[in-house]
């Protein structure tokens, strides 16, 4: 399992990419949800 997160030494770059990308997509969804609920 830890080997998976280690990514052959590239963990910082790989998870830094996926982490930020999916965090931003999640933020977009939250903001959009707020907008749909605004009357």
């Amino acid at each position: 399992m830890s080997e998976f997160f280690y990514m052959g030494g590239y963990g910082f770059y790989v998870w830094g990419s996926y982490g930020v990308a999916f965090a931003l997509l999640a933020i977009e969804l939250v903001l959009l949800r707020k907008r749909t609920q605004r009357k």
């Binding site: 590239y10 770059y13 790989v14 959009l32």
Partner: protein
Amino acid sequence: MTTQSIKWFWFASPATFYPLAGTLARVTGLLAAVFTLAGLYVGFFVAPTDAQQGEAYRIIYVHVPAAWMSMFIYVVMAFWAAVGFAMQTRLSAMMARSLAPTGALMTFIALWTGSLWGKPTWGTWWVWDARLTSELILLFLYFGYMALVASIDERRRADKAGALLLLVGVVNIPIIHYSVQWWNTLHQGASVSVSKGSSMAPSMLTGMLLVALGFWMYSIAVAMVRVRCEIRENE
């Protein structure tokens, strides 16, 4: 006029498009989750380690889909801009407005993941070469469009100005695409092409295409929810 074209004009009315957009959002939202998760599964657990780049190459499963969408969304917005000019339909400008934030987001993700991929493989976070610079210009085009549309109070004028910017800016899209051929660049050429097929391992390609399909569906879903907000807030 055929029945087919009447049907399309029928949905050009915001009021009739509203419920259709809701259905589309639900279907594409579900597909987005399924395709993205399937693609990431294939990319991380089925696809082999790259012979040259080791595990660092796995950034490809988010980088390439985001980069493709960043360009594709812009082309779709330019298409709606053209439709708006030709047909004077209110909905086309609403579509362009609804796509812009997601397009900017995809562009930022492509740049961000590219930077994190460049550091371990090229030894630098950023270079001012043709591919990276033209993609950065794309980000500024998205920001410029959103700022322009937001800064003009009268909606019709705002949408006209925005549409003009979109149509002028579309020249940047082929520049991004061909930048790796026209100029010497650190960025590698295309690994997948319509005419030459793919030079990647089949499982790598499958994973990448699945995430791309997922991001595509995600973009449609988000744009449909946003266009419903646009319709509700303006009609």
